[in-house]
Symmetry: C2
Subunit: 334 residues, 2 copies
Amino acid sequence: MENRILLTHGSGGKLAHELVEKSFVKALANPLLAKLDDSAVFDLSGKLAFTTDSHVVSPIFYPGGDIGKLAVCGTVNDLAMSGAKPLYLSLAFIIEEGLLQDELDKIVNSIQKATKEAEVEIVTGDTKVVNRGSADKLFINTAGVGIIPQGVNISGSNARPGDKVILSGTIGEHGIAVLSQRQGLSFSTQLESDLAPLGSLVADMLAVSHNIHCLRDPTRGGLATILNELAEQSKVSIRINEEKIPVREEVLAACEMLGLDPLYIANEGKLVAIVPALDATKVLKAMRGNHYGKSAAVIGEVRAENPGRVIMKTSLGTSRIIDMLVGDPLPRIC
Amino acid sequence: MENRILLTHGSGGKLAHELVEKSFVKALANPLLAKLDDSAVFDLSGKLAFTTDSHVVSPIFYPGGDIGKLAVCGTVNDLAMSGAKPLYLSLAFIIEEGLLQDELDKIVNSIQKATKEAEVEIVTGDTKVVNRGSADKLFINTAGVGIIPQGVNISGSNARPGDKVILSGTIGEHGIAVLSQRQGLSFSTQLESDLAPLGSLVADMLAVSHNIHCLRDPTRGGLATILNELAEQSKVSIRINEEKIPVREEVLAACEMLGLDPLYIANEGKLVAIVPALDATKVLKAMRGNHYGKSAAVIGEVRAENPGRVIMKTSLGTSRIIDMLVGDPLPRIC
């Protein structure tokens, strides 16, 4: 008989303790987690970053990733986007009664691998189980704590006219990969999510410049939405050049078929950096030297006029205003 | 027409930004949250506590509380149980499409009040919306960061033979209050959850003694389960005296009617402290001086023999072994 998660696994009682010890603490082993106190306790001093993300992606497995790796990378990347070195994560499961133990084990294994690559530790956690029909298989929240190196001051409100806008690579893979799995679409080439932890990429960038003004990862709402956020927060306009934005053929083809715009499709392994023009070349070089920044490119610049606007020069040579995402073509993508 | 939360509110796009700004940032106003960057950034140095809890209580409103106040108190209390002064919380919503905006506003209002009482700030957040039928109204995850005063070293593994076991008040109210609301039971007196933030109670205790060995809040699995956890972690036995454990008449009556044991019913505003015998009197006095510790009592002591066991002297004078919760009489109580 297949083992399945029962309501009792969320009771705080005996089965719950067994699940935590056998399935979680063993796989994610580290001394802080193993203490099993109500909080993890550690020494840390300086400018800290703290963030949270819940993950409700459907389906929970998809080409290039799963909800476990996503939960680690999502929070690691949010920490990295503040310039922080990600250190400690919390991990909270909401499980629908009936989830296969095998599926949960696969997810935990994938979490373990992702924490290893990202060089972070899961130090505290929580497990809730809800009755069948009250959730959709599995939701995962991760929160995270990281430390920001001295002299680094990154915020969405720091973009200045004249700054260059750098994108770390091709856009749209995550959203299209999840969508293709969900809807059983098949493309000529198997398209995979770009899901990746970006801590090392940010560290490589900070190693050559502490003057990076903004970092943001274009997840939900895609590149268009986060450029709008940055333009609004910094009270500047952002001009981008369509021809400079790298998009893979398979993503373009899928978007065309589905009537979607890659500018609004979620990514999970990309970032946008806004840096002073003087530092752009060395930051770009550092990015291209990292596995997750190989296709990095300057895609535009920051201007003073029309604050809050994002304007794209199209490949036809015309200009068009790029708005934030309105509506939601792809729910539950992360 | 009634306003309801739509899938689009979780898209990361325009409606999502409006929801965050109008419903969350405004109500929970503080400078860290208002920055709207991917992480909150603050200076902090020392021994930190970090914890997480997801809340899936059903129904989301019940006598004496709601899922919002619970989400704040749950995490505040987990931090306090490590001896930490709770400081910063994250707040992550998973909303089922169709939730009434009014209900969400009520919850956010209740979160705001609870953070004010607990003297903590919500500094970072996340909102996901899932389609109808993929969640049950609203789930909330909070994670939290606090700072542990120098010289304080509290852990479930620190209980020593001879220590006294102190309980901060009556048990069973939270579980019975939620259950009565869920099942439409009515008791002669309206029973309310004991839901409360315990940071000030712990601070009052630490003000008279830095020698507190263990603190734990008897939530899921109740008093019986957490005493078992402490006995196991510390490799000691715990003897308790049934007559010393305060239980309200209404809880006893409800438990009798429903065939439940108050020892296994969840509390959300109580704690167990294990302290050296020498410090017990002053810690007890400090607890009774705090609103949330008025009915505090010494309920037992720690012994060396039979490590891992919890043994109760019953009101009939016999002894019985108190095991951890097996099964789950009350799912989704927190």
